[in-house]
Amino acid sequence: MELFSAKDVSKSYANHQALTKVSISVEQGSIFGLLGPNGAGKTTLIRIINQITAPDSGSVWLNGQPLKADDVYKIGYLPEERGLYKKMKVGEQALYLGQLKGLTRRDAMKELKVWFEKFEITAWWDKKAMELSKGMQQKVQFICAVLHKPSLLIFDEPFSGFDPINVDIITREILKMRDNGSTIIFSTHNMESVEQLCDHIALIDKSKKILDGPTQSIREKYKSNIYDISYRGAFDFQNHELARKYNILSDHKNGDVNKLSIQYNEGSNSRELIRDLVDNVEIVAFNEVIPSMNEVFIKVVKQNS
């Protein structure tokens, strides 16, 4: 079921076009990766979803209804540029932010207790934000974004400023929320976490959406007939006639078991490759290389420029 969608959303500022007819559709209970280079228009789209700014044209839908003012209560937002009131006590401002998201003071207090205990930060309640380290502040900000149990969560670079232990804690919380039915829009430049978390991605570049689809199939789509092979014994691929038929990317001699990276050309297939290989060497492992999201990102953005 579709929880959120944007249809042909365009937005321009005085001197530049921020979004051009961008459409996305986000399934309920999924994690949707919103990717793109700096200045591509991601933040503008996120701000439109949060009703911080309005699109020039196009429409934005939540739960099958056009987005309306009250929907801010159903959306949780962790912006990339985020902070806390430096001189205000952590607990007080978390309560305040919770109330702005429509919780009563009592409900906000109850939820905050749970979260503060879960993150083991109860002792910080009466501390001023300026006394906390950056990572500590990020934790509090994360709590403030999810406190009101929104059905749509938007995380913009949620892991920046966290050490690996906290990245792990936050990742688990995000997955837990997804499993409980929350829908998450996730914007980041960290492609490893995209592979790990996102079910679906859209890539925006120069105000336009240039790629959209399930993470796995996009990676599949960008694979280029490369295989990693481990084989036993000595064999000189570079000077063999196979080097004329196939593209030998690397042949790493490592004693007993050697590693070969090989690509077949258009018109061939993996069965033919295996056949050619088994005639010559003893194969230990045979893996198709699926490009990382990082490679896909670079490739697609470079093509677009």
């Binding site: 005085a14 911080i52 020039d56 801010v72 959306i75 962790l78 912006p79 985020r82 806390l84 009131y85």
Partner: protein, 445 residues
């Protein structure tokens, strides 16, 4: 509305709980009252030291004619003692040595020799004593020469005090006594209070906006509330902080005034004050009856001033002026990243405020003049200047015109500021120009 109240509450409570707020709020009246009470206190405990001054009169004009007062004794000394004292004033039993040279009549100069600095009061006391003796002598000389009977009394009789009764013709030809002095004082106080309020709390609005922008919390907040709500919540919350401070000052002011009254009314203190007054060459006694007269006149005048109107107008211009300026301050705060960038945008805001306080000074002197009139109509200066005019009475149509313009302007300004604010708070990294800010006005939300 609910959200504006949440924002307003935060703005209010965080500021009111600040130590600096509490300290300033309590300290200010104490400082102010110290300005009034301390001098009086010091006068009352002033110079209880008895000083003996040796007088050597080389001119022989003053022998025995300089009278000692309670704490200052004058003792005429012969030449031998004078020379001895002159050698070593410090070591002698005298506090100082007053030397009147034989050529005094031509120089009009005496010398006071002392081991320490002569207090100002003592110096003027000596001066007046010498002066009165010599003036008496000269007067006697003139009387003797002209031989006009009772000349001294006649000259005395030429001293005339003029009282001016100011009568103001009200509507329907009803004459009212009015007081220019009270009008000036009230005009000054009210005008100045609005000026201070705009300055201090307008600046506070700008600081608050910048704080939210710099700490980057603003994007989190405006994902929950409209930027306009955030701006208005802040402006109104800070206005309430100001009004709270103001109310506390008024309250403490009353407490201090009544405390001061009882201080002067306690018999011992009153006696002391009277002593001091009597001591200072009886000047106080001469003036007192007239002062009392004036005071009574003042009090009866205060009764003729339309206080309900003044207070209503004060609240109106207070709020109107604050809204107008604080929305501009909010817009500037949103447009800039750092305090340093504020300069170029602050000047156009500060200029009319400073101008209005300057115009106010002339307006309280000539409240009906063209300068006072125009600046009390123009909304940017009207809060201060109109307040300065009101105690003198302002025609209803002028007041109405000024108020209508004020409302139109502040509504317009709040709208403009809201547009700049909305864009400004999310703009980082570049120092905006006026042109850039102009463009922000054109942006759709």
């Amino acid at each position: 509305m609910h959200k504006i109240i949440l924002i307003l509450k935060r703005e209010y409570s965080t500021r009111v709980q600040k130590k600096s707020f509490i300290v300033l709020t309590l300290l200010m009246p104490i400082l102010m009252s110290a300005l009034f009470i301390l001098p009086a206190y010091f006068v009352s405990m002033d110079d209880k030291e008895t000083r003996t001054i040796a007088v050597y009169d080389g001119s022989a004009l003053f022998l025995g004619r300089i009278e000692s007062s309670e704490f200052t004794k004058f003792r005429f000394v012969p030449k031998e003692e004078y020379l001895k004292v002159k050698e070593d004033v410090k070591g002698s039993k005298y506090y100082a040595l007053l030397v009147i040279n034989p050529n005094f009549v031509t120089t009009n100069t005496v010398q006071v020799v002392s081991g320490s600095n002569i207090p100002f009061d003592l110096k003027s006391q000596i001066k007046e004593k010498i002066q009165s003796v010599i003036e008496k002598d000269k007067m006697a000389e003139v009387i003797k020469q002209t031989a006009i009977p009772d000349l001294e009394k006649r000259i005395e009789a030429t001293h005339t005090r003029i009282n001016i009764e100011t009568i103001k013709m009200g509507d329907g030809g009803v004459a009212k006594k009015s007081s220019t002095e009270i009008g000036m004082v009230l005009g000054y106080i009210f005008g100045f209070m609005i000026y201070m309020f705009i300055f201090i709390y307008g600046g506070m609005v700008m600081q608050g906006v910048m704080e939210e922008k710099q700490s980057r919390i603003v994007e989190v907040i405006i994902s929950s509330v409209k930027p306009f709500q955030l701006m208005m919540g802040k402006i109104v919350g800070i206005a309430l902080v100001g009004l709270t401070q103001f109310a506390i000052w008024v309250f403490l002011g009353f407490v201090i005034i009544s405390a001061t009254k009882s201080f002067y009314h306690s018999p011992v203190q009153a006696q002391q004050v009277q002593d001091v007054m009597a001591q200072s060459q009886d000047v106080a006694q001469q003036v007192t009856p007239q002062q009392v007269d004036q005071m009574q006149e003042m009090f009866s005048m205060i009764g003729t001033i339309n206080f309900p109107l003044i207070i209503a107008c004060f609240l109106f211009f207070f709020i109107g002026g604050y809204l107008l300026y604080s929305s501009m301050f909010a817009a500037v705060g949103s447009a800039i990243d750092t305090q340093e960038d504020a300069q170029q945008f602050m000047l156009p805001i500060m200029l009319p405020i400073i101008l209005s306080i300057m115009v106010m000074m002339s307006a309280i002197k000539s409240p009906e003049g063209p300068v006072a009139f125009w600046f009390s109509i123009i909304p940017f200066t009207s809060p201060v200047v109109m307040m300065a005019r009101i105690p003198f009475g302002v025609p209803a149509w002028q007041l109405a015109l000024s108020m209508v313009l004020m409302v139109i302007t502040f509504v317009g300004m709040v709208w403009v500021a809201g547009k700049i604010y909305r864009t400004g708070i999310l703009m980082y990294g570049k120092k905006p120009s006026w042109k850039e800010i102009g463009k922000w006005l054109m942006y759709k939300s």
